[in-house]
């Protein structure tokens, strides 16, 4: 039986560097809660563990969805014989997973009472139907060929209505799913103990029944030194994020230092599916708009910004230059694309001179109409952001532009950004699903006030984006994405900077580890071969 597959003596010990917020899929938005949710709940679809780029495969669905009506209707059959983990909410009965559970679970994201942070992913749903016990039919408001990724999203797992209703406000601490693990012990913000779900369906991968391990013990350790020492002492088996001490265990070329390699420790280094960028407010009266002077100003600023210094000093070498808005590992990424905007302060100065941004007696440039020119960079009052402030100061000084630093609290910056009231700010976006659309929508005009933080409205970009929405991943869509990226670069709405490395350290006995671009955990597949 499946329960025999999991060896109860094999307990994986890992850490989170920040506390979770809970395990009710509609109520969370943080990475760590999502990680545990992924282990407990089952979405209809998932990703092949080994395939790169990420590839959708059925999970609790019998097969991939049947897509009809030009991408407006998705029909999926749920495998019979899958059961929720035993729970008092089911009053002693075995509770089989049905299509109605997915209808209920997806519907919860649309229920305004839940004000789910991830409601935006499900806003395209017009109607959810269950023609029979195992069939789910989702009708969308418009064609969407990427909706399969939403069905594979970590938070799209099935919850049971009885459990949600039984636990009410406590649902975040009482997760009941059909996944490979179930919650055994939970001390909020401190310790999360999962055990292999004894009722987990029979699942075989590469000749092995899953899961291999009997449980996962997660300790919340905010401090890098504690995580690093605990890992070195062998108190933990995997360490997911040690960027601050990367130079202690890694050589400059990204390989593990010999003293660690000799001990059998393994390093898995990958680039996170994210982009980090600066956006200009395209509605701002100083830097915004599509006139030649404004484009020249933004282009000159982009040419003066020291991206390599950002990677070397602020990231301590733990990032790669991002040239394309779609990061590696995400469908649509173009590894050959190179930014057309080089680091060239001399050319930037010449460009500003040409477009009438003349230097005044104080050595700083003025606008073509003679008014004072100052770039207002918004950041939070944190140590890391102070480093960005200093880098911007040096960059803008090199082209004679005065910098003003605007400090505010994070929520206030978000608010001002949604209201198109900032001038220049840094932003980061990590993939919700491994498809380029998740990134290219960040520049789509109608998303202004939501994900389009720079309030960028370009007819050339928007027209191509709307076309791309109707295409499946492939060469034709990739061509559109390249054109859109060039349009964005020519109009210089963003300064794309970098994507960070994720350096995962593994003890010698941890087997089957392969960092997936979007799946949070590998726990289902891991083995401990002590």
């Amino acid at each position: 039986m499946a329960a025999q597959a999991a060896d109860p003596s094999k307990i994986l010990r890992v850490t989170f560097q920040a506390a979770e917020t809970g395990f009710d899929p509609v109520k969370v938005s943080d990475y760590y809660s999502g990680t545990v949710i992924e282990a407990i709940f089952d979405p209809l679809l998932t990703y092949d563990y080994r395939a790169r780029p990420a590839q959708l495969v059925p999970n609790t669905a019998v097969s991939l969805p049947e897509i009809t009506d030009q991408g407006r209707t998705y029909q999926i059959r749920v495998k019979p014989g899958i059961y929720f983990a035993d729970d008092p909410a089911f009053k002693g009965a075995k509770r089989e997973l049905t299509a109605a559970d997915y209808a209920y679970s997806l519907g919860r994201f649309l229920d305004k009472k839940n004000h789910s942070p991830y409601a935006f992913l499900y806003e395209g749903i017009a109607k959810i139907e269950t023609p029979d016990r195992q069939t789910l039919r989702i009708r969308l408001k418009g064609p969407d060929l990427n909706f399969g990724h939403v069905l594979a999203f970590t938070l799209s797992g099935a919850v049971a209505r009885e459990a949600i209703e039984a636990y009410g406000d406590e649902s975040a601490a009482r997760p009941v799913g059909t996944g490979a693990f179930r919650l055994k012990r939970y001390t909020r913000s401190s310790k999360i103990v999962l055990e292999a779900n004894p009722g987990y369906r029979e699942r075989v991968w590469e000749g092995q029944r899953l899961p291999r391990i009997g449980g996962v013990e997660i300790s919340i350790m905010e401090e890098t030194q504690s995580r690093w020492l605990a890992f070195q002492r062998g108190d933990t088996d995997i360490e997911y994020q040690l960027a601050e001490v990367a130079t202690v265990f890694m050589n400059a070329d990204g390989t593990l230092k010999s003293e660690f390699a000799r001990r059998g420790i393994k390093l898995d280094r990958s680039v996170d599916p994210e982009i980090i960028y600066f956006y200009f407010n395209m509605q701002d009266k100083t830097v915004g708009g599509l006139s030649k002077e404004r484009i020249a100003l933004r282009r000159a600023i982009a040419m003066a910004y020291r991206i390599e210094d950002q990677i070397r000093i602020i990231r301590k070498g733990q990032a790669i230059r991002a040239h394309y808005p779609i990061p590696p590992g995400v469908a649509g990424h173009d590894p050959d694309y190179r930014s057309a905007i080089p680091y060239d302060p001399r050319a930037a100065n010449a460009l500003l001179d040409k477009f009438g941004y003349r230097k005044g007696p104080d050595g700083y440039r003025r606008q073509p109409n003679g008014e004072a020119l100052a770039i207002r960079f918004s950041s939070t009052p944190t140590e890391r952001d102070r480093q960005f402030d200093e880098l911007w100061k040096r960059s803008l000084d090199s082209i004679g532009i005065r910098l003003e630093i605007h400090k505010d609290r994070f929520p206030e910056l978000i608010k001002l950004s949604h209201q198109c009231r900032l001038m220049l700010r840094a932003a980061a976006w990590i993939a919700d699903y491994p498809d380029g659309d998740n990134f290219m929508q960040l520049l789509y005009g109608p998303n202004t006030g939501q994900s389009n933080s720079g309030c960028y409205r370009s007819p050339e970009y928007d027209r191509r984006y709307e076309k791309s929405r109707l295409l499946p991943p492939g060469p034709e869509r990739d061509r559109l994405y390249r054109e859109m990226t060039r349009v964005m670069e020519m109009e210089t709405a963003w300064i794309l900077t970098d994507s960070r490395y994720r350096n995962v350290l593994l003890q010698p006995y941890v087997a089957n580890y392969a960092k997936h671009p979007v799946l949070h955990t590998e726990w289902l597949y891991l083995d401990l071969e002590r």
């Binding site: 004000h115 913000s189 002492r233």
Partner: protein, 313 residues
């Protein structure tokens, strides 16, 4: 001890608490930012933002929000955490135990050692030992607690393996004897230097008094003079110092709790600040204020017990 004293002191807590409430409210609304934008996720729309603001009650006029806060203080019910939905009372109930497991032994041990050391250096005033200890205390006091934590954790736990690097178990004995030992040691070492200096000055004030000379003239042994007569007379400022540390320690031990993964109140407070979790911030501020007021009252009562000459009016 008159009843009037207690009634008057209890009445005095009302304006103090109102002041705390007002200060917290103004500070949070000034510094905290709009929590709806934190809770709304990656792509919020205006309708969702408004929904969240409504559900949190931050769409109400300020005077109404302040009134709700006052009612929460009066009923000791601060509702649920904005980020985890856990009842604030539950948060404190579950985090208090681990905090006290570290802080009570820490306070007892550090007080006892600091008393003994303070008394000895006061007794040897001006000697090489006194000067060496005072220089040592000044140096030790100049070092940040963060340095103590980093060095002790690295050296004693990681290098020598005398303690676990971090962690917290399921029962009191395991926690007290295994996981809390190093955090307690760090806490004791950090608090010793300032306490020894302070207690030394208290003892010096007393050692020169006439009653000490009289006791010695009567032939009492030096330990008896010091531990009975001097200590008792120096006890009032010592008790004040020990008690007044308690509420601050509870919320202020966040560094120790974070580095050693102790699920205590200090760590929870930092988490709440990071998440702009106003219900938790409100509760902890009010609890600390109430605890401070209660401890002040307790100190007054203890003064009377320690020194019958003290009149509580």
């Amino acid at each position: 001890m008159s009843d009037n004293f207690f009634i008057r002191r209890l009445w005095q807590t009302v304006p103090t608490l109102l002041g705390v409430v007002l200060l917290v409210f103004v500070l949070f609304n000034w510094v905290g930012g709009d929590p709806a934008y934190l809770l709304a996720g990656k792509i919020p729309n205006p309708e969702q933002i408004e929904n969240i603001r409504r559900s949190l009650g931050v769409d109400q006029p300020y005077w109404m929000q302040l009134w709700i806060f006052v009612k929460q203080v009066a009923s000791a019910d601060f509702g649920a955490s904005w980020s985890t939905n856990e009842q604030v009372s539950q948060i404190f109930a579950t985090r208090l135990g681990p905090s006290l497991t570290v802080l009570l032994p820490l306070l007892l041990i550090s007080t006892f050692i600091a008393l003994a050391a303070g008394m000895l250096v006061a007794y040897w005033r001006g000697s090489l030992t006194d000067r060496a200890i005072m220089v040592g205390c000044t140096v030790a006091q100049s070092v940040s607690i963060l340095v103590y934590i980093l060095v002790f954790q690295y050296l004693l736990a990681y290098q020598l393996g005398w303690f676990p690097v971090q962690g917290w178990g399921g029962n009191l004995a395991e926690n007290l004897l295994r996981y809390a030992a190093l955090p307690i040691l760090v806490g004791v070492v950090v608090s010793l230097a300032p306490d020894i200096r302070l207690y030394r000055s208290f003892f010096l004030d007393e050692i020169g008094q006439d009653y000490v000379r009289t006791a010695r003239a009567k032939g009492l042994s030096e330990p008896r003079v010091l531990w009975l007569h001097v200590l008792r007379n120096a006890a009032i400022p010592i008790v004040t110092n020990v008690l007044i540390q308690l509420p601050g320690l509870l919320a202020g031990a966040f560094l120790i709790e974070r580095f050693f993964s102790i699920p205590g109140i200090g760590r929870e407070v930092i988490l709440a600040v990071e998440r702009s979790d106003f219900p938790v911030i409100k509760a902890v501020t009010v609890y600390v204020a109430v605890a401070t007021l209660a401890i002040n009252l307790l100190s007054d009562v203890l003064y009377k017990l320690l020194d019958p000459r003290v009149q509580l009016k």
